[in-house]
Amino acid sequence: MSAGARAVDVDNLRVDRGGRTILPGVSVQVAPGTVTGLLGPSGCGKTTLLRSIVGVQRTAGGTVTVLGSPAGSPSLRQRVAYMTQAPSVYADLTVAENLRYFAALVGGTDRIDETLTTVGLRDRLSSLVRDLSGGERSRTSLAVALLGAPEVLVLDEPTVGLDPRLRRELWETFHGLAAEGTTLLVSTHVMDEADRCDHLLLMRDGVIIAAGSPAELRAEADTDDLESAFLTLAERA
């Protein structure tokens, strides 16, 4: 990948938190218009890496470049969207009120309808977020991330607690967005989701231990099964 062809370019990123080094020096490249999966056990630094790419994480070294600008630049706030792991929407407002507020901020008022259809929440429009199930809440949060039609979409475990049918539909949506040129970076725990990614980053203890397409990783580990490929690659690292 040449430098100009990267939507996200993380170079030797170091993050310290609470006196502990979370990321000792990570380098990651993400190609535009692809779905990249970030996999790894809980606590390995996935969220910290995603936060650094969005530009909300204080970093201790290295560079993070998104769409040609340093991560967190004011010009990127319209072009990069982030869905946190815990749904960050107002629990005491309805789905519609939440979407209307965030849409006003990102200029996405005319996309509210379409976004609601995408996340399958049309029938919960006037429900208070606190009355929703966990899955519905995280879909509300996902809808907010989609409102601004971002060029880079960073999703931290977006499909936790969703039923398999909806999960499949959302992944179809992700690929649809990628086909239109959106770059998606998605962290996940689920193996069949990993298999749907164009590119995978396998992370452990703040280090990327393997990167490549699912087919490449399977070939590298010499197995047909992605899960055992990960185990093999993790043991080698």
Partner: protein, 244 residues
């Protein structure tokens, strides 16, 4: 600055308040209720209620908006919505102005209701205009919003946020001249009183109550609004785009 983002935030905060019927009821019923109580507590002390009623009408919004703002802001900080907002194209000033506007509106309603009770059935007299009392109440509410916003940065739980009220506001209320005339306080306390913004909030109300709408009133209002600007600027610096 974007008026659109400010107004969208105001609308959102008001929508949140509208759903919280109990808080709204408490905000609107407690201040006039306390005034009624005080009227009868001070029944045997001629002139006492008359002297403190007008200042109280204008000081309630300060206290209430301080509490409401510090909790609301703390929720934004701990609920993840502040982090989301800080990653979106909204300026900190738009967010803060949105909050300020919403709570100023609430304060105006609160002060109007309290005034109606005070100047109506309770028979409180003011030499100045009751409209001026409400206007001062709104400017004091903004002081409460600004201080609450600033102090919410130092609270990590709602328990702590609530405790900032007695820690930060109560000493100022004791020193402002409401309970004891400032002139009768020891020199050191008089000096402290002159340095604290609530003293000016009180003084303005006291002047209106006595019909003294002179240049000193302008000084009082300027000090209060100047403190608001300072606290908002400091508060904005506690809203971080990047966090550890």
């Amino acid at each position: 600055m974007s008026a659109l983002a400010t107004l969208a935030t105001t609308r959102r905060v008001l929508e949140q308040l509208r759903r919280d019927h109990r808080t709204l009821a408490l905000v609107l019923v407690v201040p006039p209720g306390l005034l009624v109580l005080l009227r009868y507590v001070l029944d045997g002390t001629p002139g006492a209620f008359q002297r403190i009623a007008v200042p109280l009408v204008g000081l309630f919004p300060l206290i209430v908006m301080f509490l409401v703002t510090s909790i609301a802001m703390l929720r934004e900080r701990t609920g993840g919505t502040l982090e989301r907002l800080m990653s979106l194209p909204i300026s900190k000033l738009d967010l803060l102005s949105g909050y300020g506007l919403a709570f100023a509106l609430l304060a105006a309603v609160q002060a109007t209701v309290t005034s109606l009770v005070a100047f109506g059935p309770l028979g409180v007299d003011t030499a100045g205009s009751p409209v001026l009392v409400v206007a001062l109440a709104v400017s004091n509410a903004l002081l409460g919003v600004a201080l609450g916003l600033l102090l919410s940065a130092f609270a990590t739980s709602e328990f702590q946020a609530v405790q900032f009220m007695p820690a930060v506001l109560l000493p100022q209320i004791l020193l402002c001249g409401l309970f004891v005339k400032r002139a009768t306080m020891p020199q050191g306390l008089r000096l402290a009183s002159a340095l604290l913004p609530v003293s000016y909030a009180y003084d303005g109300l006291d002047r209106v109550a006595r019909g003294l709408t002179d240049a000193r009133l302008l000084v009082d209002v300027t000090v209060v609004l100047g403190t608001v600007a300072l606290a908002v600027a400091l508060g904005a610096s506690t809203l971080r785009r990047r966090t550890p």
